[in-house]
Amino acid sequence: MNLEGDLLHTVQPDNISDRRKRLGRILFWSASALVVLVGALLVLDDFGHDLGFTSWRPLLYAYVIWAVVLCAVQVIERGESGKRALFVLPATLFVISMVVFPLLFGLSIAFSDWNLSSLDGQKFNGFDNVVAMWNDAFYWNALKNMVYYVAAIGVEYAIAFGLALLLNADIRARKFFRVAILLPLMLSPVAVSWMFGKSMMEIRFGPLANLAKFLGWNQPAFFSDPMIARLSIMVMDAWTWIPLMVVILLAGLQAMDKEVQEAAKVDGANAWQSFWAITFPLMIPVSVTAIVIRIIFKLKLADIIINVTSGGPGGATDSVTSFIFREYRDRSNVGYGTMLAMVYLVLIIVFITALLALVNRLTKRPA
């Protein structure tokens, strides 16, 4: 039996002729040349040489032709192993088209001065947007608020864990509660904004405001003081998303090996010891997943803020996303808004990577 070479389902060894290989190369380089040619013509057209192009669409067509040729060439040049590449190549090209190209396009916008109302259109402006961002008190204020918002996830996690433990315990109507707790997650944050922020927390007739009055808070203004406003936003956001953490943690609890806990019980551990020494450590990997997912959702926080406070009072509740929304949508400041988003993306990647590395180090078992 031949134990070397291609062990997969190759029906027969390919004997690709040189002529066929040459044809493949010609096709590939022709298609590549077409892309380069069309791109060059479009650039020329864009810089004032009227060549009759009305849009950049021809480059898209050239790219599609190139992608098809590239796939075909795999088979022409490499035969059976080329066919195997076709299982992956179209998907790879699609991802590149949908992610890499827009990212490059986004970067080109981020380094430009582009206000949709400007007669001059898009103008490359180097690092001017970065400098403007560095001096933008609104952006730094929003980043500072994000630190508060992300920090609140610690409290959310504690509540979620408690609820997950309850739902995992043998309580009455457990199935009902398991479904009921998911309801907030099914609501749009916009609906939550109106239901809570604009109705239940309304200072004159809102039930929550009335309850606060009943409890002795004379003027229960939930959005006037910066810290209270920020807390109110955190509470609304938490109410919406804690169920997600509960579901993840509950799944973790249910997957946990019951024998370990039973063994602890046999060894005489009380409920707290059983939780702290057994359940919690075993749940750390699931907890990390829940927290990271929650952080990602939190970093996108915008809709509740836009609807309820518009970032106020005086920017106290502004998130980076709600600020970018105003800069981009209300002020049509496309270049600067994109730069803010790109920098935020980098910050998120760095933060999440650092967080995962830290968690990894903390949870690493000693050798």
């Binding site: 109302s117 604009k198 004159r204 007739f205 970032g311 105003r326």
Partner: protein, 556 residues
Amino acid sequence: MKVDVYNMLTAAQASRRRFLQGTAAVGAMAAGSSFVPGLSSVARAQSGLRAEILKIPGVNQGSPTDADWQKVGELCLGGTKETVQEGEFEGVELTFMGLNNQNLHNFLFRGFLKPWEAYTGAKINWIDLAQADYNARLQQSIATGTVDFDIIEMGAPFEGDVCGKGLAAEMPDWVKTLIDMDDYVSYLKAPVGTWDGKTYRISVDGDCHNFNFRTDYFQSDELAKAWEAEGHEGIWEAPTTWQKVQEVTKFLKGKTDPFGLEAYGYLDPLKGWGGFGFYFLESRATAYAKYPGDPAWLFDPDTMKPLVNNPAWVRAIQDVMDVMADQPPDQINADPGTTAFQQFLAGTGSMLSWWGDVGSSAKTSDGSVIGDVVGFSILPGSDDVYNRKTGEWETLASGPNFAPNMAYIGWGVYVMARATQDEKKGKAAWSAAAHLGGKDISLWCSAYPSGFQPYRNSHFNIEEWSAAGYDEAYIADYLGSEADSYNHPNAAIEPRIPGIFQYYSIAEDELAKTYAGQYASAQEGADAIAAAWEKITDQIGRESQIKLYRASLGLG
């Protein structure tokens, strides 16, 4: 007519008590309304056509349907038949971009234009947009050079972005004659709708801020006695100047309103509203900043230097800050929607600036408790006005300075330049637009739910309305509340420059910081707005902004 206004008018007709109140209002208006020729008691000859369309479907006969819109469109085809041969536009396809708010706007236009399509042979394709998507869609079309529509329904504030960039087509003279532009109320005449002396806009709507107040507050004996006892000057009445508005607002703090709740004076929206919140500071500032005879009140037309940090504007901002403590708790989180619909209509506060919707919703909204106790006037004036040219505050010999804020100016129909590249297509586009902005069809739009308010002098002929079935007292009350603002000689007209909402948006952000006490003074906050506006002007292009701003003011 806005839907809520229509509902209000038809609902109000059932109330005998309101009829009697309204009769008094007509008398008062006939004496007080000096700007609207149509409001005089002199009857105009009614054309049979106008009377006929006003009976479709008939007041109190339910909301009009597509069949009604088509009938009205058919009956109003006279102008088209005068200027276009039957089948003349056979083979022409036009694209119309407009709104679908409340299932009105484009929905009506479709019905109106169906008979026009049948007669001319042209075909219209429709792009319907929600209000929230409109701005972004239009800006992106302009910025990316993908204008894919031939006719657009557009607000005047966007004229800078569209007309200023040469994207709209100049209106031919035959259209001007056909739509009778002389009939427009004063503020909708040039320079509104024009750029560099060229006319682009067919108006189909009007907009302005009015002053809404609670009559029960100002008829309260208890409050009148307290007013006198505290030694205030003048009698207890609805204020007509901002100085009095301030005084009344401070006076009412801690008192009880006629409903037995806490009394409050003027309601300032202190939270942003996507740029639209800035209109409310404007309404406070125009009486201080809009000097009679000087059209500029927001920017210096020679340099585009913002005027928003001059003493007039700073005084308006300071006024807001001075009464913040006297306003309802949590006011810093109140946007204009809150002040109007959750506060004023729900019985909180006694004075409010807003568009015409508030006064009408007062009588029809389920959430309103002030239906019988609301009064209207033009925005308050000021005892003195700032002259930006001399840098001095002046007291005018004519009395307080009034400058109603023509906030947003209303919707218009514009033909895009791309449509007129082909002569036949261009004529078809203008014919369709003229059909929608015709004098008779506009009367119907004023009288029935359409999304549009009256905007022609001929819309204020009360006899036409009463002949159609409207109660004379109510219609006079409704029309009179807006007419004086529209036709005021010192009306503050919004600058129609590119990116105007960008200026408003950043101003809202800076005002929020000012109101939250993050700046040391109103002046510092105003300076921050001015600095941000300077950046926007530089980014968009100062020279072109100056040129377009001057064009929008009619300064050439």
